[in-house]
Symmetry: none
Subunit: 413 residues, 2 copies
């Protein structure tokens, strides 16, 4: 099947937001074996939208749209698609009920424009919005199908996973199975080099590498007649990859580093606390995003000022004066002090220079010290991160913390 992706939203034409929806949908459609022929973006302009649709259908059988399904008057995707596909809008009572229940719960007044969201083309298959108010829909006309989704990426992705993907899969012949292998501590170029003969020598499973903010991933994909065959092919390939780069692998489940670590901590019932300086709470924020983490996570003391390090963690003023807040000595005292106050089995500390200010020749921006203690075992390490800006530096320091936890857990397993 051939498809096109049509994004609707004037904000895109102003360059105010990056169109990540198109990237997500392109990846997903390709994984289902649906070719993506082109991407298009138009503003909140019904005339241009109406003209685009027949034009795109010259070249494909399926159009996926995102955006323009909201309650406001410039949200006109539904109305325009309905007309172009020769249908009429009718009231969809379940959606109307949902909207009313939603506003009642919030104690807000329903404005007239909110009801607009309850009308749908009469022949449409309606997709509930798992995380928002605007439902999506699929509408067929003359052998061609349009699927309309909301624009906010969170809503679009949730709807795709829960509704659209199952809707698309029912027409597919082969089974596609894939796994995402997630790595930290190895660059994409080196990862590709290590796996090169597997990447080049194979038509199925295929391997594709991706990089994102300090991490990288390999997608292993197999397209076979049955699910079992595809799964077996993928698993065999993963074993081959593990033999070469297994030490950097943190997950085969396409989960974030903090999710993989959080899950392990919960499984093994290891209590954990953190003492953060430069990351400012990022480590705790990431770990507590894992549902069920309260079983093992006790506290994080974000001691940003030196005074807080002394008062909360018992870091010695002398240590700060002599070695500085960003030093191995301070990192160790932070972790040891945390151990004393929290009693958690695993205690981890971080102190570093996130920038853009605060660096020096001796201690440049990007320098970070991490100390992790598991029971009696203590592991402290300094790293000179590549300085790629405050946001990147903080995020990378957080990833280094999860790497330190991973290594301690592996050494103890």
């Amino acid at each position: 099947m051939k498809s096109s992706i049509l994004s609707v939203g004037t904000e895109l034409l102003f360059g105010q937001i990056v169109n990540t929806n198109t990237v997500f949908l392109s990846k997903e459609l390709n994984l289902l074996g649906i070719d993506v022929m082109s991407h298009h973006t138009v503003g909140d302009n019904p005339k241009r939208l109406a003209e685009s649709i027949p034009q795109l259908f010259l070249d494909c059988d399926l159009i996926l749209t995102t955006g323009g399904l909201g309650p406001t008057q410039d949200d006109l995707t539904k109305e325009t698609v309905c007309e172009t596909m020769h249908d009429t809008l009718v009231l969809h009572q379940p959606t109307k009920d949902n909207i009313e229940a939603y506003f009642k719960e919030l104690g807000r007044t329903i404005t007239e424009n909110n009801y607009k969201q309850a009308y749908f083309p009469s022949r449409a298959v309606i997709f509930p919005n798992p995380v928002g108010t605007a439902p999506g829909f699929a509408l067929e006309d003359n052998g061609k199908t349009i699927i309309c989704m909301p624009g906010p990426p969170r809503e679009m992705k949730a709807m795709y996973e829960e509704e659209i993907k199952p809707f698309l899969i029912k027409d597919s012949e082969d089974v596609i199975h894939y796994k995402m292998l997630r790595f930290f501590g190895i660059g994409e170029a080196l990862l590709e080099t290590e796996l090169l003969d597997l990447i080049d020598g194979q038509s199925d499973p295929t391997l594709a590498t991706y990089a994102k903010e300090g991490e990288c991933s390999v997608r292993v994909t197999s397209k076979r007649k049955t699910q079992a065959e595809a799964e077996k092919a993928v698993e065999e390939m993963i074993e081959k990859a593990k033999q070469r780069v297994g030490q950097y692998l943190f997950s085969t489940e396409d989960e974030e580093f903090h999710e993989a670590i959080g899950r392990k901590l919960i499984q093994r019932g290891i209590s954990i606390s953190s003492a953060e300086s430069c990351t400012g709470g990022m480590f705790a924020e990431a770990l507590t995003s894992v549902s069920g983490i309260s079983a093992v996570f006790d506290r994080s003391l974000v001691t940003y000022s030196n005074r807080a390090k002394v008062e909360e963690l018992g870091v010695k003023q002398e240590t700060l004066d002599r070695f500085g807040a960003v030093s191995e000595e301070t990192a160790i005292e932070m972790a040891q002090g945390l151990k004393k106050v929290s009693g958690s089995r695993l205690c981890i500390s971080v102190t570093g220079i996130a920038g853009p200010e605060g660096g020096s020749h001796e201690k440049p921006v990007g320098l970070v010290y991490i100390c992790a203690i598991l029971d009696e075992k203590i592991h402290c390490k300094g790293t000179n991160m590549r300085n790629l800006g405050r946001h990147w530096n903080r995020n990378y320091a957080k990833l280094l913390m999860f790497q330190a936890v991973k290594q301690l857990l592996e050494s103890e397993a």
Copy 2:
């Protein structure tokens, strides 16, 4: 002038890379007063590219393309554009000389396909590539213009700044100026209702509303003969909007809530600490992402367990037993305890149920209490957030904390 942006590259249709070129060019063209009517992406496919061009010209006078200018056999943008614009390729001697000099310097042998880059349409204006080998060009035919640029963002941006922008400015008439107004605590539909006559009654400035994860924005845009006129028109409109919905406005500078608040705290030199439970460090993480915040931010005590609340903040065990960890009483004791240990002028606490587990009929998922103290002033509030999942709930609780800080700062100003 009306324009369209046409990206060429099969890798985009696979979702392998995010199309940041389009974002960059859209912003830049809008700033020059050139309307961007649409974005399009096609693969490395000359037929589809050739079909797109006349189609896009129905709607605009200017097309900017990126990608497909390299030396390899699938780089066919130049050849296709040349044919579509009724011109023929001729050798461009200065480019040929450059290529030969470049390869000589590198000590590499020139392969035949490298010479492909030295041929250009006979009527083209050629733009040197400041940071790569593939030059760009502009070609006019019948009152319509195509500008072709390389695909790698670094090359495209450098060429745009040094060559394309000066080329475009000579044709530009109007100046566009805009501001983004950022709101929290009002839904997009209600915001539009409050501003409806301003949105409908105006052709300049124009107002457009946007929503994202619990916040919304209004873009106020004016297109005038001079920068001063456009700025004045935008400022006058902002004043009108402020009179109606000013209480929800947190920034006119298109910055995040935490950036706006962080900046105010730094400006006014107000020290701040936080005590977080359900947000798990998100408040501190957001605030410490602001460069320079160390001047005022002291610490965040992420007291996830009850024991941590008692030990770090002096919350009474009796309070936890009687009212529960998620209660107004606990929130108040957390903030008061934090005040005692940190001495910060502004102390804020949060406790809530992020879900998906842990809710009950009396205390459902989404219930959150926030207590903020500024000097002697204390403000505590419970909110029943709409339960849209753990991530959303935690993020919304964080935004409510910034709202509480904003309100305290305003009451004191």
